[in-house]
């Protein structure tokens, strides 16, 4: 086993909670942990929704100019105005979830529990928990509360620091 001074570490701030933005932090965290790094994830603002017991993430076509789904044999994007139509965002979410399942990509629930198994430290931002009136009881077992200073103190010792 690598001794402590050789072990690399990674920290990341997770600020977004939509389905497409949920993947980068969990994929990076689980892979880094599998490669022997000490990983800390700091969840703040909409990232807090990724810690909820029951995950209900969605995507929107609004304001996502680079989003182009493989449909009808080509990649199709949607003009913003189409997202005003009731059901379009729900359809986009369903389409994304289908693609994920079809291509054998792990679900966020699976990645999240693998991260916890791999001893990834999860910190929930105290301030935004209060702001949005969440309590730790709404969240899964594992995350602890912390503030900006907790994050910064940890980040100064980490080799990789990411803002997602």
């Amino acid at each position: 086993m690598a001794n402590e001074s050789n072990t690399k570490s990674m920290s990341m701030i997770v600020t977004k909670g939509s389905l497409d933005w949920a993947y980068p932090p969990f994929i990076l965290a689980t892979t880094a942990a599998a490669m022997g790094l000490n990983v800390t994830m700091f969840f703040t603002f909409y990232g807090l929704t990724l810690l909820k017991k029951k995950l209900d993430m969605s995507v929107t076509t609004l304001g996502n100019p680079a989003m182009a789904m493989p449909m009808f044999g080509m990649h199709m994007g949607m003009p913003n105005i189409v997202s005003m139509i009731p059901g379009v965002d729900a359809a986009a979410t369903a389409m994304m979830k289908n693609l994920i399942k079809k291509k054998g990509v792990a679900s966020i629930e699976e990645l999240r529990s693998m991260a916890l198994e791999a001893d990834v430290k999860m910190i929930a931002c105290q301030m935004t928990m209060d702001l949005f009136e969440y309590s730790l009881d709404d969240m899964i077992e594992g995350p602890v509360l912390g503030g900006a200073a907790t994050y910064i103190d940890n980040a100064t010792k980490c080799d990789i620091n990411l803002f997602i």
Binding site: M1, I27, T30, T31, A34, M35, L37, K103, G104, V105
Partner: protein
């Protein structure tokens, strides 16, 4: 999918019944194993992990879990269809210190043999 039998076991015969139920794992009885070994001139792994159809990061994560069941010095063979897995397993072995003994492409399937070093 993954056969986590104790790798120190010498003869393969005792794994017969379990093996026949596992997808992608053809070691049904000792004679089959012998033929298989003669056909392939490469390394026979202690544990085989079938990660076909799984995309990043699952092949690496499953391999990491599977390696825990391999004795130090033993080998794990991983079968994957994810093209990213080729570079990923090189990097994984570099980072963890495990040895990548073989990395082969057979049609759409990639196979990697990893030796656990610690």
């Amino acid at each position: 999918m993954i056969r986590a039998s104790p790798p120190k076991q010498g003869p393969r015969s005792s794994r017969g019944l379990l093996d026949s139920r596992l997808r992608g794992n053809e070691r049904k009885n000792p004679s089959d194993t012998q033929t298989a070994r003669n056909k392939r001139d490469d390394i026979m792994a202690d544990v085989v992990l079938d990660a076909k159809g799984l995309n990043c990061p699952l092949p690496i994560l499953r391999a990491k879990k599977a390696l825990k069941d391999v004795a130090v010095g033993g080998t794990l063979e991983v079968l994957a269809t994810d093209p990213g897995a080729v570079k990923d397993f090189e990097a994984f072995c570099r980072a963890t210190g495990n040895e990548l003994l073989a990395s082969k492409t057979e049609g759409k399937t990639f196979s990697f043999v990893i030796k656990r070093t610690s």
